[in-house]
C-alpha cells in the first residue's frame, strides 16, 4: 500500500484551530533546510581557535604554521577586525577576537577558513598562542572585592527594590538559602551559518538566530559597513531557548567571507556549542518571609546574586526580571530585594527560557512551603490566601491592570486527580534508577509537590518594543513578510491563522524572514505572539480597510455599510458582493505596519515603576518516587494549569506546555554545566544530560484558563516561558515531601538525597 499523498497546505485555518505547521511536512521529510544544511559552490569551512584557559594574558599569537597548511585560505586574528573590536547584545563589551586577555574558557581568539572541516580544525590546532595564565575569578561572592577582570569592572548591575514599610516584622518568619546550577539551553541544531560576499562589497549572512536585526547591527559595526550592505536571512533554526539571542559566529563568518571572497560555512560541534553561547545564570538566593498568624504575607526580604560570567550579554535585564518576580505571584505589601549580577571568569550567562524568574521561583516556592509548614497551614491554602489578583500592586508599585487568574490556576491544578499509588511496581523502567533493578519498590517513598510562578511578557523597563509586518494580497493570495525568527515555536502557523482570520483568504504564503523589512524584535520574552502576531494582525487589518475603502469609493457607498466576511467584501444590505480574489486580481493591496506595545517605564532608584506590559501565570504539581538510600528518583506524574489569555492554536499550546515543562524538570533533576575553577567539565551530551523520553511522564493538563488580556492581539498571552518556571520547584517540592530533606539546590543529584543530613525539621 502506498503512503498517503499530501494535499493540505495548512493555511486555511482560523484562530483557535489546531492548524498544522506550514513547515511540518518538509521537516518530517528531512527536506527543511537548517542552517547547518547550507551549501554553496566553492564554499570554505570556517573554524575557531578558542582559549583553553578561563583567565590568561595572550603574549603572542603565531599563525604562520596554520597559514602555510595546504588548503587553508586565511587565518584571522583581532588585528583583522575591520570595525568595532567588540560586540554585545545590550552593550559591546566582548571582543570579536581576544587579543590581549582571555576572560573565559572557550573565548574566541583566531579564525580559519579552509577547504575541508578537517583542514580547518588542523589549522586551528597549528596556531601557536603563548599564554600567561592567571588565577580565574570563579566565585561570584567575591567578585565585587576582586581585581576587575574587565575594564568596565566586575559589577554588571545592582538593583534594589524597596516597597512599603521595610521595618515591619511578621509574627511568623522563615528563612532559607537556595542555589541554582548553570543550565544549558541544549538546542539540538548547533550554531551554524554561511556568509557570502556580495558584489557591492557587502555580505549576505544566512544564520540561525533569534533576532536578525540586532545581529545585523552588531555585524555591521564590527565590519565597519553600513547596515544596508549587511543582509541577513534566517536559516532554518534548530531550537533556541535564549541561546541564540547573542552573536556567536555571525561576525566571524562575515570576516572570513569578506577576506577570502568566497562563501564560508561554519558549524559548531556540540562541544564547541557549549562554549559558543550563553547559559542560564547560576544563582545564590537568600530569602526571609514574614507572615501574620493567619498566613497573610507581611514582608519578604531577599538577596539575589547571579553569576554573569565573563561578559554582559543580557545580564542586566535578567537580574531585573529576577528581582521583579522574586516574590512569586503573591500579594506582598512590603518587600526589600537586593539583586546583583557580577562578572567572573565563568562561562557567560544570558537569556534562557524563563529569564531570571526560573531562579527566583525555585526559592520563593520553597519558602512558601516552609511558611505553610511553620504556620501549620495547608500549602495550597497559603498560596490561595496570598494569590495576586487584578488591581493588586506588585512590589515594583505597578498595579496589575490585565488578567491575573492566579487563584483559578491554583484551584484547578489542586483539584486535578492524583495518580493512584500502586501496591507494587516490578517493571524496573518504572522505578527510580530505571533498568538494572537498582531499586526495590518496597524502599520507595512517594512525594507530592506544588509550585506557582509568573513572569512578564514582552520587553520591559522602558524599551521601545516593536515588530514589523507586511501583508500583500494579490489575486486572493496573501503573502506575509516579517523578520520574526521562527525557532520552532510556531509563529509561522500563527501568522497564517491570523491572516486567514482577518482576510478570509484561502491561501497565506510566508516570505523569508530577513533584514529587507524592519525589525521584528527578538523571539524571546514570550513576545512574538503578541508583537509579531500583533504586527501581522495590524497589517492584515490595514489591507482589509484598504479593500473596503476601495469598494466604497467604486460603488459610491459609505465604508460603514461594508464588511469583509469569508473573503468577500459585501454590503450590509446584500447588494454588493465582491470577492477578495477579484478585488486583488484587479489591483493588489499591500500594507506594512510597525506595531508597538504600550510603553513601559524604567525602574527608579527604589525599583519602583510600571516596568512591564503583561504577566503570565502557571502552576505545576509533581509526583515523584524516591529511593532515599540510593538517592534515585523517578518523576511519576506532572500536571499543570496555565492561564493563556486566549488559545490561538491548541496543538501548539500543548507543545509549548510539554516542552517548557520538560526543561524545568531537566533543571530539577539532571541538567547542569559543571564549572570547576571556571572550567566546563561536561561540554557534551554524554555528560550534560537532558531528559529522554523515558525520563518524562505524559504532562497532565489540568486546566487552560482563558481570560482575554486587554491590549493583546486576540487577547492572547505568550505561552513559551511560564511552563518552564514552575515545573522545577514542583518537582523538588515533591522530593522534599518524599524524603524530608531540605534540598535547597538544583539540580538535585543522588548524593544530595542519599548522603544528606540536612533535614527540613532540623
Amino acid at each position: 500500500m502506498s503512503s498517503p499523498t499530501i494535499t493540505r497546505t495548512g493555511s486555511s485555518h482560523r484562530i483557535g484551530e489546531s492548524a498544522p505547521r506550514p513547515d511540518g511536512i518538509p521537516k518530517a521529510r528531512g527536506e527543511f533546510a537548517f542552517s547547518s544544511d547550507l551549501w554553496a559552490e566553492r564554499m570554505l569551512w570556517g573554524a575557531t581557535l578558542r582559549s583553553p584557559h578561563p583567565s590568561a594574558r595572550i603574549l603572542s599569537i603565531d599563525i604562520s604554521a596554520a597559514l602555510a597548511m595546504p588548503g587553508v585560505a586565511t587565518v584571522l586574528t583581532a588585528e583583522d577586525v575591520p570595525g568595532l573590536s567588540s560586540f554585545g547584545l545590550e552593550h559591546a563589551d566582548q571582543p570579536v577576537l581576544a587579543s590581549d586577555v582571555v576572560r573565559y574558557q572557550g573565548e574566541a581568539i583566531a579564525l580559519v577558513a579552509a577547504d575541508h572541516p578537517d583542514t580547518a580544525r588542523k589549522a586551528v590546532a597549528a596556531i601557536r598562542v603563548e599564554y600567561e595564565t592567571m588565577a580565574p575569578l570563579s566565585d561570584p561572592r567575591i567578585a565585587l572585592d576582586a581585581t576587575p577582570i574587565h575594564p568596565e569592572g566586575n559589577l554588571v548591575r545592582h538593583l534594589v527594590i524597596r516597597h512599603g514599610d521595610l521595618d515591619v516584622e511578621g509574627e511568623v518568619q522563615v528563612e532559607g538559602s537556595y542555589e541554582i546550577g548553570m543550565q544549558d539551553q541544549a538546542f539540538l541544531g548547533p550554531e551554524s551559518g554561511m556568509a557570502i560576499p556580495t558584489e557591492d562589497g557587502g555580505v549576505e549572512l544566512m544564520i540561525s538566530t533569534q533576532w536578525l536585526h540586532v545581529d545585523r547591527d552588531q555585524v555591521a559595526a564590527c565590519l565597519d559597513l553600513p547596515v544596508d550592505k549587511v543582509h541577513l536571512t534566517l536559516a532554518g533554526v534548530g531550537g533556541a531557548f535564549g541561546a541564540r539571542e547573542d552573536v556567536s559566529m555571525q561576525v566571524h563568518l562575515c570576516m572570513l567571507a569578506l577576506r577570502t571572497g568566497r562563501p564560508v560555512k561554519m558549524v559548531y560541534s556540540r562541544e564547541e556549542s557549549f562554549f559558543g553561547h550563553v547559559h542560564r545564570h547560576p544563582a545564590q538566593l537568600w530569602y526571609r518571609h514574614h507572615a501574620d498568624r493567619n498566613g497573610r504575607i507581611v514582608k519578604v526580604e531577599c538577596r539575589l546574586l547571579f553569576d554573569g560570567g565573563a561578559y554582559r550579554s543580557s545580564s542586566a535585564a535578567v537580574i531585573a526580571n529576577a528581582a521583579c518576580f522574586s516574590m512569586g505571584p503573591y500579594l506582598v505589601p512590603n518587600a526589600h530585594v537586593d539583586a546583583t549580577v557580577v562578572r567572573t571568569n565563568n562561562p557567560t550567562c544570558g537569556a534562557m527560557r524563563g529569564f531570571g524568574a526560573v531562579q527566583t521561583c525555585f526559592a520563593h516556592e520553597a519558602q512558601m512551603d516552609k511558611l505553610a509548614d511553620a504556620l501549620g497551614m495547608d500549602r495550597i491554602e497559603l498560596r490561595l490566601l496570598n494569590a495576586l489578583e487584578p488591581g493588586h500592586e506588585l512590589i515594583t508599585g505597578q498595579v496589575i491592570t490585565g488578567t491575573a487568574p492566579v487563584a483559578e490556576v491554583i484551584r484547578t491544578l489542586a483539584a486535578h486527580p492524583l495518580p493512584p499509588a500502586p501496591d507494587s511496581i516490578t517493571d524496573s523502567r518504572l522505578l527510580p534508577g530505571g533498568t538494572g533493578r537498582t531499586t526495590d519498590y518496597s524502599d520507595v517513598k512517594r512525594g507530592i509537590g506544588f509550585a506557582v510562578g509568573f513572569k512578564n511578557l514582552c520587553f520591559s523597563e522602558g524599551f521601545d518594543d516593536f515588530s514589523t509586518a507586511r501583508v500583500r494580497v494579490d489575486g486572493g493570495i496573501a503573502t506575509v513578510k516579517c523578520a520574526c525568527a521562527e525557532v520552532g515555536q510556531g509563529f509561522v502557523t500563527l501568522a497564517q491563522q491570523i491572516t486567514t482570520e482577518i482576510l478570509g483568504v484561502e491561501r497565506v504564503d510566508l516570505a523569508p524572514a530577513d533584514t529587507s523589512i524592519g525589525s521584528a524584535g527578538s523571539t524571546s520574552a514570550s513576545r512574538q505572539t503578541w508583537m509579531s502576531g500583533g504586527a501581522v494582525h495590524a497589517a492584515a487589518t490595514a489591507v482589509r480597510d484598504t479593500l473596503i475603502a476601495r469598494v466604497a469609493r467604486d460603488e459610491g457607498v459609505d465604508i460603514t455599510v461594508l464588511e469583509l466576511v469569508d473573503g468577500v467584501v459585501r454590503s450590509l444590505d446584500g447588494t454588493i458582493n465582491i470577492s477578495i480574489v477579484e478585488l486583488t486580481t484587479a489591483e493588489p493591496v499591500e500594507e506594512e505596519i510597525e506595531f508597538h506595545h504600550a510603553p513601559t517605564d524604567e525602574l527608579d532608584e527604589n525599583g519602583q515603576g510600571n516596568a512591564h506590559v503583561s504577566f503570565a501565570f502557571s502552576a505545576h504539581r509533581a509526583v515523584t518516587d524516591v529511593d532515599p538510600e540510593l538517592g534515585l528518583v523517578r518523576l511519576v506524574d506532572i500536571a499543570t494549569s496555565q492561564e493563556v489569555g486566549r488559545v490561538l492554536n491548541p496543538l501548539q499550546l500543548t507543545g509549548q506546555l510539554e516542552g517548557g515543562t520538560a526543561q524545568g524538570i531537566g533543571l530539577a533533576l539532571m541538567e547542569e554545566i559543571i564549572v570547576d575553577e571556571s572550567r566546563v567539565r561536561n561540554p557534551s551530551f554524554t555528560d550534560y544530560l537532558i531528559p529522554t523520553m523515558l525520563d518524562l511522564p505524559d504532562l497532565q493538563i489540568a486546566a487552560i484558563i482563558e481570560e482575554p488580556e486587554p491590549g493583546a492581539p486576540f487577547g492572547a498571552k505568550g505561552v513559551g516561558e511560564a511552563p518552564t518556571i514552575s515545573s522545577t520547584p514542583a518537582v523538588v517540592a515533591a522530593l522534599r515531601n518524599a524524603t524530608g530533606l531540605a534540598l535547597t539546590r538544583v539540580p538535585v543529584r543522588p548524593e544530595h538525597i542519599a548522603l544528606s543530613a540536612d533535614h527540613l525539621d532540623d
Binding site: S2, P4, P20, R29, G239, T654, G655
Partner: protein, 166 residues
C-alpha cells in the same frame, strides 16, 4: 595530508560514488556534504542524540559513528527513502498530524527510529516505545506529541494490516 579515497555507497537503492573522500569522514558527513542528503542531522556527532539515525543493512545506527568508507557494499537507507517525492510515510504523516514537529531538528532521526521500531515491534506499549526512543533526544516537545504520533502511527499500521510499508 589525509589520504584521499574513492569508493561507492549504496544509498536508498542507488549506487553513489564518493570521489576523493577522506578516510576519516563519517557516514553522516558524507551523506550530508558529499551526497546532498541533508536529512540526517548533526546535533551531537557523538552518538548521544539519534538525530543522525539511518538504517545500514536493516540495522538502526547513528551515522555519525559509522566511517563512511566502511559502509561500502552495505544497504544504506536514510529519511529521504521513506516516501516518494511530495508524499509522506505513515509515520511522517503521524508526526505532522500529532504536532510532534517543532523546530524539527530531531524529527528525521526520530522518524527513522520509529519506522524501525514499528517494523520490529508493531504492538509496542508506551513504556516500550519510550525505552526504544530514549536514544533520540528532543529539546522542544517534551516528547508528549512524539509519543502520540507513535501511537497514531502504530494504530494505523495495525489497522491497515500491512506487513511492510513505505
Amino acid at each position: 595530508m589525509s589520504d584521499l579515497v574513492s569508493y561507492r555507497l549504496n544509498v536508498n537503492g542507488q549506487d553513489r560514488t564518493v570521489a576523493d573522500g577522506r578516510l576519516g569522514e563519517s557516514l553522516l558527513y558524507v551523506l550530508r556534504e558529499r551526497l546532498g542528503l541533508a536529512g540526517a542531522k548533526n546535533a551531537c556527532e557523538q552518538g548521544e542524540c539519534g538525530s543522525c539515525s539511518v538504517m545500514v543493512d536493516d540495522e538502526l545506527v547513528c551515522s555519525c559513528l559509522v566511517l563512511a568508507a566502511s559502509a561500502e557494499g552495505r544497504d544504506i537507507r536514510t529519511i529521504e527513502s521513506l516516501a516518494p517525492e511530495g508524499e509522506l510515510s505513515y509515520v511522517q504523516q503521524a508526526f505532522v498530524d500529532a504536532g510532534a514537529v517543532q523546530c524539527g531538528f530531531c524529527t528525521p532521526g526520530l522518524i527513522v527510529s520509529v519506522h524501525d521500531l514499528l517494523e520490529r515491534q508493531p504492538d509496542a506499549t508506551d513504556i516500550e516505545v519510550r525505552e526504544a526512543l530514549s536514544g533520540n533526544l528532543c529539546r522542544c516537545t517534551g516528547y508528549g506529541r512524539i509519543l502520540e504520533a507513535v501511537r497514531i502511527a502504530a494504530a494505523e499500521r495495525l489497522a491497515d494490516g500491512s506487513e511492510s510499508r513505505a
